[in-house]
């Protein structure tokens, strides 16, 4: 275990002339570096074996316009690093002023920084020197201004006249210079309204026969301003927006957000709630994997599996609806607990579903496991190596399919995951086949977790009795001045989170779902950054599929399980 002091000491020993300032943050060590030292310091942090921060978790920025007294420079760019072996996390910050907001790019160190830097450029207007393709990524190319800056009005919509051509990204087409003009390079556009893209992605590619020579993905077609919206309401009002991040498993996003805010306030949720959250998280994970596998198999021409898996999904929807009144977008979790206790039938219903899942999943596995078409189209297709996956900041099942056993539930256990008996399934090939089958393995593990949680779930309250998050009982409100005041303040100001910053994450269905939150101590978030798992997965897509057949690109995309809601936010 390397402490903060050691990290900073080794940085200072390596760069004696540079200044490194340590900030007191509770969740992880924070080091502020100067702009000139950013790249060498990051390279040192990544490559020094005793530190080993080889994983770039997140890259975002904060606009300090409304915090002017505390912030001499307007912007801070924030990097979150992780040592995957020891679990050490480190936050590196760089402060830059408005008049000169440029930073050196980190694309040379982590390729996942490519898209993350484009997003910061788009939404904050911070340019990165040395970036190969610094274009807007979320908003459209005719957009003026930078949406996440504090002086950009949230309702200033801007119409787009014409979609970007993307011709500059794929280069020349026509006669192929590689074989002396014998063959021809043809541009091809897929999406954003194409069934193979499962949502709203666009790929512009260049074909040589049926081989993809170059692919330029374009995202942002479902950018709904999640992060900007979070700054407008109270902390509780963010919960409905999180439902619509990964809408295939809405409960998991609820849990991720409330987990982060509870950690910032310092509220401990009751044990019963922790078990409830574990159960609904794993149920959500199962139905998310069902959609992913089902949709991917539809792309391969196997429609039957989709119906089998959607049957399971409908069953889970039914009990979710009985639990919280909504099928898809549940908003069930609250800061400090959950909205209602379990309905009396819930545990019995989940036990019944646990009996049905093996049948549905078994039917699908029986259809595909030895199916020649499935095996031919998936084995050895869309391969990514372990090193590349880490370099692209992959997490979740897709990373575990390459052989890295990183799972937030094991690495940073939250709730009861440390006490329950379950395994992290891994596979080794990193191809479409493994990415599909590892989801079946995870369904089995999720079922193990749910079974144990159902046996162990205790009674008791489902909301924390902490006065900072929970409304007092009615008799207290009407009977005592403290209760009345408490009620008044909670209703008027909302839940207050102490000033500071924190990054906390959970294992969502696609990987690490993290929230980096900055609070100024008022009743609303100052800045919320969501680290979506899909974003880094898709940023590696063009490298995976370039050189392969165009027909293989479709199952490759399906196996990544791109959910546009959390990809574009």
């Amino acid at each position: 275990m390397v402490s903060t002091i050691d990290t900073v000491e080794s940085l200072r020993a390596q760069f004696p002339d540079a200044k490194f300032r340590v900030e007191p943050t509770a969740d992880m060590a924070t080091v502020v570096v100067e702009r000139g030292n950013l790249v060498p310091a990051m390279q040192f942090l990544r490559d020094e074996p005793s530190l080993g921060f080889g994983f770039l978790v997140d890259l975002s920025a904060v606009d300090g316009l409304k915090l002017e007294d505390d912030w001499p420079d307007r912007f801070q760019v924030v990097y979150h690093l992780l040592n995957m072996d020891s679990g050490n996390a480190l936050r590196v910050k760089v402060a830059i002023s408005e008049s000169d907001c440029t930073l050196p790019s980190l694309v040379g160190l982590w390729r996942s920084a490519d898209w993350m830097e484009r997003e910061v450029f788009d939404l904050f207007g911070i340019s990165f020197e040395g970036h190969p393709n610094l274009k807007r990524i979320m908003t459209h190319h005719e957009f003026v201004g930078h949406a996440l800056r504090k002086d950009y009005n949230i309702q200033d919509g801007q119409w787009l006249g014409e979609t970007e051509s993307l011709m500059d990204e794929i280069g020349e087409y026509g006669e192929n210079p590689a074989d002396g003009g014998f063959s021809e390079l043809i541009p091809i556009n897929i999406g954003p309204a194409h069934p193979a893209t499962h949502g709203t992605l666009r790929f512009f590619g260049k074909l040589d026969g049926e081989t993809l020579v170059k692919v330029a993905p374009e995202i942002g077609y479902l950018h709904r301003g999640f992060e900007k919206h979070c700054e407008t309401g109270s902390w509780t009002m963010v919960i409905p927006y999180t439902d619509r991040l990964n809408y295939c498993s809405a409960m998991l996003n609820n849990v991720g957000w409330c987990h982060t805010v509870e950690k910032m306030i310092g509220v401990e949720v009751p044990e019963r709630t922790q078990y409830i959250r574990v159960i609904i998280s794993e149920l959500s994970r199962i139905i998310d994997h069902c959609v992913c596998i089902g949709a991917m198999l539809v792309d391969l021409g196997a429609l039957t599996n989709f119906w089998y898996l959607f049957n399971l999904r409908e069953r889970v929807y039914q009990i979710m609806e009985e639990l919280c009144g909504a099928r898809l977008t549940s908003t069930y979790v609250r800061i400090g607990g959950v909205a209602y206790d379990l309905n009396p039938e819930f545990i019995g219903q989940v036990r019944e579903i646990l009996k049905e899942i093996p049948k549905g999943v078994g039917d699908v596995l029986g259809l595909i496991k030895k199916n020649r078409i499935f095996l031919d189209r998936t084995i050895g297709v869309g391969v990514i190596s372990k090193e590349d996956a880490v370099n692209y900041s992959w997490t979740g099942p897709c990373l575990r399919a390459t052989g890295v056993d990183y799972d937030v539930r094991k690495a940073k256990p939250y709730y009861q995951y440390a006490d329950l008996d379950w395994d992290v399934p891994t596979r080794t090939n990193g191809d479409v086949h493994d990415r599909a089958l590892i989801r079946f393995d995870e369904i089995v593990q999720s079922m193990r977790i749910i079974e144990q949680a159902l046996d162990r779930i205790p009674g008791g309250p489902v909301m924390s009795d902490d006065k900072r998050v929970q409304l007092p009982e009615k008799e207290d409100v009407y009977g005592s001045i403290e209760g009345l005041m408490n009620h008044f303040v909670l209703v008027y100001d909302g839940i207050k989170v102490p000033a500071g910053e924190a990054y906390h994450s959970i294992e969502a269905a696609n990987g690490e779902l993290g929230f980096y939150v900055v609070s100024d101590g008022s009743g609303r978030p100052y800045r919320v950054r969501c680290r979506p798992p899909c974003f880094t997965l898709l940023s590696a897509f063009s490298e995976i599929v370039e050189g392969s057949m165009i027909a293989d690109a479709v199952p490759t995309l399906g196996s990544l399980n791109i959910i546009a809601g959390e990809l574009d936010r």
Binding site: E98, S99, D100, C101, T102, G125, I126, M138, T139, H140, V144, G145, H146, A147, R149, D151, Y152, N153, I154, Q155, D156, G157, Q158, W159, L160, G161, E162, T163, P192, A193, H194, P195, G199, T200, G220, Y221, L222, H223, R224, G225, K228, H229, P240, Y241, D243, R244, Y247, C248, F306, W307, F310, N311, R313, E314, Y317, R327, L328, T329, A564, G565
Partner: protein
């Protein structure tokens, strides 16, 4: 198109009663064999999948043949949030569809922007294309979608068959400022700083 055109051209020659009969027969055919194009962008798309799949089974209403080409479809189901980036695509897809064509705004995001009242989301697709049925819900349940589908079928039953061959303009709201002639952005006038 042949059948409708045939009837539409002949209606001048036939008696009024027969005219009604022909009208009803064509509409009966249209309303019970809708070919949907799911323009599914977001969460509502998942509920649309739920409506199509076996538990709810959209084929009971004769609309199960989902087409992914606008040229083969006559019902555009806009399921999900439409952003300004997506707006030209939606407009183009609507224009590519043959007459007769209908549009369902599936969910509040498509109908009004929903709770995404921000810089990125179009505040209702009726600023771009005409809408026949607005379906609230975030997302609407499959049953609600069937309600909208039946409402659309009733609407089709009452239509004049020639109606679809007249020129159509988007039904813009009074406060809407665009009919796809995109207003030029003047950053200075709107107080937006370009940044560095």
């Amino acid at each position: 198109m042949g059948l409708e055109n045939f009837f539409a051209n002949k209606t001048g020659f036939v008696a009024t009663k027969l005219d009604h009969v022909i009208n009803d027969v064509v509409n009966w055919g249209r309303q019970n064999s809708l070919w949907p194009y799911p323009f599914a962008t977001a969460c509502c798309g998942i509920e649309f999948m739920g409506a199509v799949s076996n538990t709810h089974d959209i084929s009971r209403f004769g609309a199960e043949l989902v087409r992914f080409s606008p040229r083969q479809a006559d019902l555009l189901i806009v399921a999900g949030t439409i952003t300004y980036k997506m707006a030209p695509i939606l407009k183009r897809i609507y224009d590519q569809m043959m007459e007769p064509k209908w549009v369902i705004a599936f969910g509040v995001c498509a109908a009004s922007g929903g709770f995404y009242n921000n810089y990125s989301v179009v505040q209702g697709i009726d600023r771009i294309i005409p809408v026949d049925v607005y379906l609230p819900g975030c997302p609407p349940r499959p049953e609600a979608f069937f309600d909208a589908l039946i409402a659309l079928q009733k609407k089709i039953a009452g239509e004049e068959i020639e109606e679809h061959y007249r020129e159509k303009r988007p039904q813009l709201r009074p406060d809407s400022d665009t009919d796809w002639d995109v207003p030029a952005v003047d950053p200075a006038a709107r107080g937006i700083r370009r940044g560095c």
